[in-house]
């Protein structure tokens, strides 16, 4: 069995095991949840570490590949593998999953079900990113999505809980359904009777779909996946849903599951529907601005901290769309980088806001203040998260965002200009407001006695996420060196250009010649 299969199976097997544990063995459940995600995380780190030296699988472009026939008549198979696009995502997903499992202290009732759902969700997410079979890819996503709804509905918080559950369910189901229609249409029209991405890619490279088909399928995928990523104007479910979700669910969904739509766009829509992609680039760029600029402005007006980071995470998705719209090596690499960086960041922000909520019982920013004095660790971590969120160098987000700006500048100078304003100014306005209102300033009488836990285990999830952000912020090449070759393949297929410039990584002296 490939290490990839083990990474996916570990949480799922643990979920099955938990079914057998009696309801009142609370500690056991916590331990099982944490251990399973921990093992999965360690294996993901090992896989990431070994990625460069690992041999290519049978398909020639994926590593740690594994394939078993499943429903042969329909061309469904269990096919997993990683390349530069998803190896970082799986690493990020596994780390966030462990952090989320550590951050479930607030769950006090029906723990058994919660942990089972959490582990199923984790397995589903990781499987979705690992799958090279469109059916499994989609199925795994559903497997992760449905627990999200249940967790918000049962363990969610706030008065809006029911409405939030309903809206997020409705929205995301519609998004998933729309993209499903697109995927099935793709399957049918390709004519190879296979859900396998490698087979489909080969087939469509030789015999591209007709322009009519492409123009029919692409919008389905764009908006179907787009809804899942909170593409403007389909974003309102995100702040609402995350505002009511239990901490671990928000961490996992905002951090990892949300990236599914983006991954789908890059992995499937761009290379398989190149002609339609071209026609839609302008639209994508301007919609991205809807996220970056418009949602950033809305975030400025939020009074509840969870809503603020909800909107900010919507805004950050815009950078990825902008990177996709630029459709060149720089832009796509930057997009994948931001997906990974934002996964850590969103998980960190929601994790810390959950901690704060459990300590103070409110996230209304005007009721808080001066908390840094009482909560030095959480406060400092939150300040670091806020600065990562407004693109401070040293955190992975900066590396991603700057790459996207450089990628998009030549094709969309105006859009990029506004996006830079959104990143540097609007982002800073709401992030600094949050710090000013909650952590700085005088400490109100009410919070004099507030204190944070001194138990190191409580700090662990946040530390892991912070370290991840810093490591990839200081050494972005760890990711980009893996992403670049795969991104180049996607770009080559999507632009149809056979003679795209090869990896020009020669030293600067030589490069002076060709520009």
């Amino acid at each position: 069995m490939s290490i990839l299969t083990n990474i996916i199976l570990c949480p799922l097997v643990a979920a099955l095991l938990l079914c057998l544990v009696p309801r009142n063995y609370r500690l056991i459940m916590r331990i099982v949840g944490m251990v399973a995600t921990f093992i999965s995380m360690v294996m993901a780190i090992v896989m990431f570490w070994r990625y460069d030296s690992a041999p290519m699988g049978p398909s020639g472009s994926f590593k740690f590949e594994e394939m078993h026939k499943w429903v042969d008549a329909l061309g469904i198979s269990y096919h997993v593998g990683v390349d530069g696009l998803n190896v970082g995502l799986i690493l990020m997903g596994a780390i966030v999953a462990f952090a989320a499992a550590c951050a479930c202290w607030e769950i006090k009732e029906r723990e058994k079900e919660f942990y089972i759902l959490l582990l199923v969700m984790t397995g589903g997410i990781l499987a979705a990113f690992a799958s090279l079979d469109i059916f499994c890819f989609y199925f795994a996503h559903e497997l992760a999505l449905v627990p999200t709804f249940i967790m918000i509905g049962v363990w969610g918080r706030g008065e809006n809980k029911n409405y939030a559950t309903f809206q997020i369910t409705l929205y995301l189901s519609i998004g998933a359904l729309v993209s499903l229609i697109g995927l099935i249409a793709l399957y049918v029209q390709s004519g190879v009777q296979s859900f396998d991405i490698v087979t489909l890619t080969e087939q469509l490279k030789q015999h591209p779909l007709s322009a009519r088909d492409q123009n029919f399928i692409f919008p389905l995928l764009l908006f179907g996946f787009g809804i899942l990523v909170s593409l403007w104007p389909f974003h309102t479910w995100a702040p609402l849903g995350y505002g009511s979700a239990p901490t671990a669910t928000a961490m996992l969904h905002a951090g990892v599951l949300k990236k599914f739509g983006l991954y789908g766009l890059i992995r499937i829509a761009l290379p398989l529907l190149p002609q339609a992609t071209h026609a839609w680039l302008n639209v994508i760029a301007w919609l991205a601005l809807g996220n970056i600029f418009y949602c950033g402005l809305v975030a400025m007006r939020q009074k509840n901290f969870n809503w603020l980071i909800g909107y900010s995470s919507v805004a950050h998705m815009g950078f990825v769309f902008l990177g996709i719209a630029s459709l060149n090596l720089i832009g796509i690499t930057g997009a994948v980088l931001v997906m990974i960086a934002h996964g850590f960041l969103a998980a960190l922000s929601f994790g810390l806001s959950g901690y704060l909520y459990n300590t103070t019982g409110t996230l209304e920013m005007d009721k808080l203040g001066g908390l840094l004095r009482r909560m030095p660790f959480v406060g400092t971590a939150l300040i670091m998260a806020m600065f990562a969120g407004c693109g401070l160098p040293g955190f992975a987000n900066f590396a991603g965002e700057i790459t996207i700006f450089f990628g998009a500048w030549k094709s969309f100078p105006l859009v990029t200009g506004i996006a830079v304003w959104g990143a540097l100014v609007i982002g800073a306005v709401y992030m600094l407001r949050a710090i000013r209102n909650m952590l700085h300033g005088p400490l109100p009488e009410k919070w004099q006695a507030v204190a944070e836990s001194t138990w190191p285990l409580r700090k662990l999830p946040y530390l892991i996420l912070l370290v991840s952000l810093l490591v990839f912020g200081f050494f972005p090449q760890l990711l980009t060196d893996k992403i670049k070759p795969s991104a180049q393949k996607i770009v080559t297929m999507a632009t149809g250009a056979s003679e795209t410039v090869a990896q020009n990584d020669e030293p600067p002296v030589v490069k002076a010649k060709h520009k």
Partner: protein
């Protein structure tokens, strides 16, 4: 070998940050020692590299760089550039920085956040060195941002004070507006010239002049935006006076001597991109600098907080430097930057010593007669004041003179007159401060009981005073001339000749400059030598009120510009989001809302079985849809 030393200089302060945050957070003394050691070591190493450089007769030492992020044509390195410009700045940053670190040991002694203070100071030193040593635009931008964050952390050091918390936010946001332009400028230059490396750009500029010339003005002005933010030039000047909420040594290091000079430094570093035929960027830069110099000097005349007077004075002097760059005189700008670092750091530390003596009183009208109570502070402060005013033969005279001479040489007569007038104002407000604080009678109980500061604080003052005196004859100008005009003939070599060079080189500038000093001093003496209160408000009326209220720029921004632009847009976007997107599109027309309500009630059974059933049903639906095809 010198590359390795240079890397060590850059990373020593970062190591100190890491050591303090990870290990010695709870040990204030150890933390301070680590931080002080790091900056002094960096200074000594910089000196070694500098001496080697002077001996090497080259224009720059070999660059050392490692790739940081390379994707396609976008190639960002972390690389060091060691030439006269960067080495001069490194000496200022680590040298003045060392003195201020030592001074802080005394000034911050009883503060509970001692360790955090020194960690932030080291972070600042690291970031500032990064800007100075950067050999490419992107690395400079990275450290540009890091300097912004260290400034934020230090201004907001006493974050529980609402005013400090507001000030750090304002400083960071104002800087971010400048950085927005800066980044766009970088993108523009990169798109046209295809490189980020300064040396590469300089080489590529000649063959690509045809492509670059049309965008030169725009790119130059966008890059200047970055300098406008960091060096607090009009209209982004509002953050610097508020930044005085930070501890006084921080004001001396960051908001007087080094960080705010980063904008000027950056303009000099990329001067070859600004000084392009057909570009009007320099003209605009010169006028913005001149205007800032005048505006800030006028405001400084009517401030009563000792630190704010110095803050506006800093703004005004930065205006001089920017103006000088704009008049194609980067040498003069860097010269003034260097001497200004000495005497302005001295003045701020002196002000800190006064504030320390007065038990944290900052209003000059509650001080007085400190001359006898704090003699060391008085004498050194006097030296700083004379140097800043431009009294011969102190350092300020020479650097200011070279800016005025530059104006004459390039036929900027209006800016020359403006420069002389600002010199007059400078002398006036500085001696107003000196007369009120150190002479006359004690105006409050605290002034009566004031005491001299400990040695750890006065010795840095003495050293800086010596530097302020001899800064004009140390050959600083020659150092920068080597950078910007390597072919120019050497300046007067002999000591005596150097001492008198300005009078023979550009007599009009030198004599008018001195005349302005005498006028300013005379006016200040007449008005303030024995007064108990400020006589100017009565004499000037509304003008004085406008000066005291900073010509209402803060009010203009806070009440008019921000609410009617970005905040209004945000309100608008929020309303759309709430009422149209989620209101109309999501909840749909009333019928759907009703339906949603009913469906909701059905769904919200709260029973896990139902949910489990739905889960299975969902999966079945998917399977069905797939198998159907």
């Amino acid at each position: 070998m010198f590359e390795n030393l240079a890397w060590l200089i850059l990373f020593l302060p970062l190591l100190s940050v890491a050591a303090i945050t990870l290990f010695t957070r709870s040990k204030p003394r150890a933390s301070a020692q680590i931080s002080i050691f790091a900056v002094i070591a960096a200074f000594v190493l910089s000196l070694i590299v500098f001496v080697f450089f002077r001996g090497s007769e080259t224009n720059s030492l070999p660059q050392a760089s490692v790739p940081w992020l390379w994707v396609g044509d976008f190639k960002a390195d972390i690389g060091l550039r060691l030439d006269a410009l960067s080495l001069g700045m490194m000496l200022i940053v680590t040298g003045v920085g060392s003195l201020i670190h030592i001074y802080s040991w005394g000034y911050m002694k009883d503060d509970p956040g001692f360790a955090r203070y020194f960690a932030s100071l080291s972070l600042f030193t690291f970031s500032m060195l990064g800007i100075v040593m950067a050999d490419n635009f992107l690395m400079m931008f990275i450290f540009w941002e890091l300097v912004g964050i260290s400034s934020y952390l230090l201004i907001g050091f006493w974050y529980e004070k609402a005013s400090a918390a507001d000030a750090c936010k304002k400083a960071f946001l104002t800087n971010r507006i400048g950085d927005f332009g800066f980044l766009l400028g970088i993108l523009m230059v990169w798109a046209v010239l295809g490189s980020l490396n300064f040396q590469d750009l300089e080489i590529r500029l000649v063959p690509h002049m045809k492509d670059y010339a049309p965008v030169a003005t725009a790119a130059g002005l966008l890059i200047f935006c970055g300098a406008m933010g960091k060096s607090a030039q009009f209209p982004l000047h509002v953050w610097l006076p508020d930044a005085m909420e930070g501890p006084t040594p921080v004001s001396a290091l960051i908001h007087a001597a080094t960080m705010v000079a980063a904008g000027v430094y950056m303009l000099c570093r990329v001067f070859f991109l600004l000084n392009v035929p057909g570009s009007h960027a320099l003209e605009v830069i010169a006028w913005i600098g001149g205007f800032t110099a005048l505006l800030a000097a006028l405001i400084a005349v009517q401030q009563n907080d000792i630190k704010r007077i110095l803050a506006y004075s800093t703004l005004s002097q930065l205006g001089y430097m920017v103006m000088s760059v704009g008049m194609s005189g980067p040498t003069a700008a860097m010269y003034h930057l260097t001497t200004h670092a000495f005497f302005k750091a001295l003045l701020f530390l002196g002000a800190g010593s006064v504030i320390y003596a007065m038990h944290h009183e900052q209003n000059i009208w509650r001080m007085g007669a400190l001359k006898k109570k704090a003699p060391a502070t008085y004498w050194t402060f006097m030296v700083g004041t004379l140097a800043l005013s431009g009294v011969w033969p102190l350092s300020g005279f020479y650097s200011k003179d070279s800016i005025l001479a530059q104006a004459l040489e390039t036929n900027h007569i209006a800016l020359f007159v403006l420069g002389v007038f600002v010199a007059l104002l400078t002398t006036f407000y500085m001696f107003r401060l000196v007369f009120v604080v150190f002479f006359g009678g004690a105006r409050s109980e605290a002034a009566d009981h004031a005491h001299e500061s400990p040695d750890v604080m006065t010795w840095p003052l003495r050293i800086l005073a010596v530097m302020s005196i001899i800064g004009g004859v140390m050959g600083i100008e020659g150092l920068y001339t080597k950078q910007f005009a390597p072919n120019a003939e050497g300046h007067a070599a002999g000591f005596g000749q150097q001492l008198l060079a300005p009078f023979s080189h550009s007599p009009l500038a030198a004599y008018l400059g001195l005349f302005a000093v005498i006028m300013g001093l005379g006016a200040a003496y007449a008005l303030y030598s024995r007064s108990l209160f400020d006589p100017l408000p009565e004499k000037l009326g509304w003008l004085s009120r406008a000066m005291r209220n900073r010509f209402y720029f803060d009010e203009l921004y806070e009440r008019v510009i921000i609410p009617f632009t970005q905040e209004a847009l945000a309100k608008f976007a929020n309303a759309i989001d709430r009422w149209i997107i989620s209101g109309f599109m999501v909840r749909g027309a009333s019928g759907t809302t009703d339906l949603v309500g009913r469906a909701l009630r059905l769904l919200q059974t709260g029973s896990l079985q139902t949910y489990a059933f739905l889960l299975v049903a969902g999966v079945a639906l998917v399977l069905y849809l797939v198998l159907l095809r």
